[in-house]
Amino acid sequence: MKLNRNLTDQEILEKIKSKSDPNQAISQLYSQHYGMLEHYIIQNSGSADDAADLIQEAMLVFVKLVSEEKYRGEASVKSFLYSICKNLWITELRRRKSTEARHERYEGEKDQLESDISAQISKNENLKFVMDLFDKLGEKCKQLLMLFYFEELPMKEIGEKLEFSSEQVLRNKKYKCLQSLTDQVKSSPALSKNLQKALRHE
């Protein structure tokens, strides 16, 4: 993991939003903030393994909030990541039947940015469920959808990479893969319930 130079907070946000060299942005977040985040978890009854899991989760929440422009650098990246981690860890402690008092005290301190964090953490729970469904798709489907929706490559390039005979065949395959995923989403009772709640804006 070699970095040419340190990016500024704003450059990191730009790289995440534009997905240009996302590895560099994420690598720098790790090298600059992992120690601080890990220290927080360990100081609050967590282990190094808890920290590793939680920080990965925090990074996912971070990129999602940045991508959706819910975070534009109002606070420093460091304090924003710290807030996400704190939020996630409190949620995790609640799961582990930690004291309600701590949670209530924390709830009272929330500001708008932290509300966005909480909301994103909750959304990510659903997304994680769908990601698990995505993981169960065939390798070709996963590659295709990833190249299209994450790497945002043009169809022509994807076709060459995955050796499709024509763009139409690729297009059909893509919709087939996507359809397979959405069908699984709809047939998942827990997820379907959450989606309906979301549609009703509950």
């Binding site: 990965q56 996912l60 990129v63 990601m131 994450f150 790497e151 919709y175 996507l178 995923l181 069908d183």
Partner: protein, 252 residues
């Protein structure tokens, strides 16, 4: 799949790429068609999940690399320990050597070569009588000025007399006089082909020369003593003394 809209159309709607007419129609249907709403929501979350899966892969890879690199950094001192420690030992030894040489350089003086040498104890001077006996007694009493005074009253000097006068001068730090009387023994020995007090002369001349700053002459005597295994004072000088002589030469 929705009967009225293909996935492709629904996706085009989400991307804002659907024709105005079809878009209005779809939006009208959304209001009442729960299945269509669900279809759109499922499509949205699926796309978001695929994108997030991409990020998850980037994040997992970065985390893996970061933790491996950190582990490697933590283990580095152990892995390269031998080389590092050898380097440190070499550096310490070099520092120690430089320090020692510096101390040696600044602490070396003519006295530093002879101060640890044996005292000026006379060889057994038994059977002396008269004037010489008085000279010996004065020397043994540490009355060196008296030795020189008594010597003036002696008409005929023998090797012992020269030695006592030479040593008394040495004690009084009269290097030149000490050299003069000690070398007289050598001259007398050459004339009589004897070796009276030859080793003592070598040994005490080192000091006499050093007092006068005659470093080269002192060096010659030390080399002579150290080269001769049978010399009485062979063990009284070593390489360190020769090194000190070299330092004195530099300092002078």
């Amino acid at each position: 799949m929705n009967e009225n809209y293909s996935l492709e159309e629904l996706e085009a709607y989400l991307y804002g790429e659907l024709s105005e007419e079809r878009k209005s129609q779809l939006e009208e249907n959304i209001k009442t068609d729960l299945a269509l709403q669900e279809e759109l929501a499922a499509l949205q979350i699926s796309r978001a999940a695929v994108e997030l899966a991409g990020w998850k892969s980037v994040i997992a890879q970065s985390q893996k690399e970061f933790l491996e690199e950190r582990e490697e950094t933590l283990n580095k001192p152990i892995q390269i320990g031998i080389r590092v420690w050898l380097g440190r030992i070499a550096a310490s030894l070099t520092l120690l050597l430089v320090g020692t040489l510096a101390v040696l350089f600044f602490s070396t003086s003519p006295e530093s070569i002879t101060e640890s040498q044996i005292g000026y104890s006379l060889p057994v001077l038994r059977s002396s009588t008269g004037e010489l006996a008085a000279l010996e007694q004065a020397y043994l009493n540490g009355e060196y000025e008296q030795v020189l005074e008594l010597a003036k009253g002696i008409n005929s000097y023998e090797a012992k007399t020269y030695l006592l006068i030479g040593l008394a001068n040495l004690e009084l730090k009269n290097g030149q006089a000490a050299e003069e009387f000690l070398t007289r023994i050598e001259s007398e020995n050459q004339t009589s082909s004897s070796k009276d007090f030859a080793d003592q002369v070598d040994y005490y001349l080192v000091n006499a020369y050093l007092i006068q700053g005659k470093i080269t002459e002192a060096e010659e005597r030390i080399v002579k003593i150290t080269k001769d295994q049978n010399h009485t004072y062979h063990d009284n000088f070593g390489q360190l003394d020769l090194l000190k002589v070299q330092i004195l030469k530099i300092k002078n």
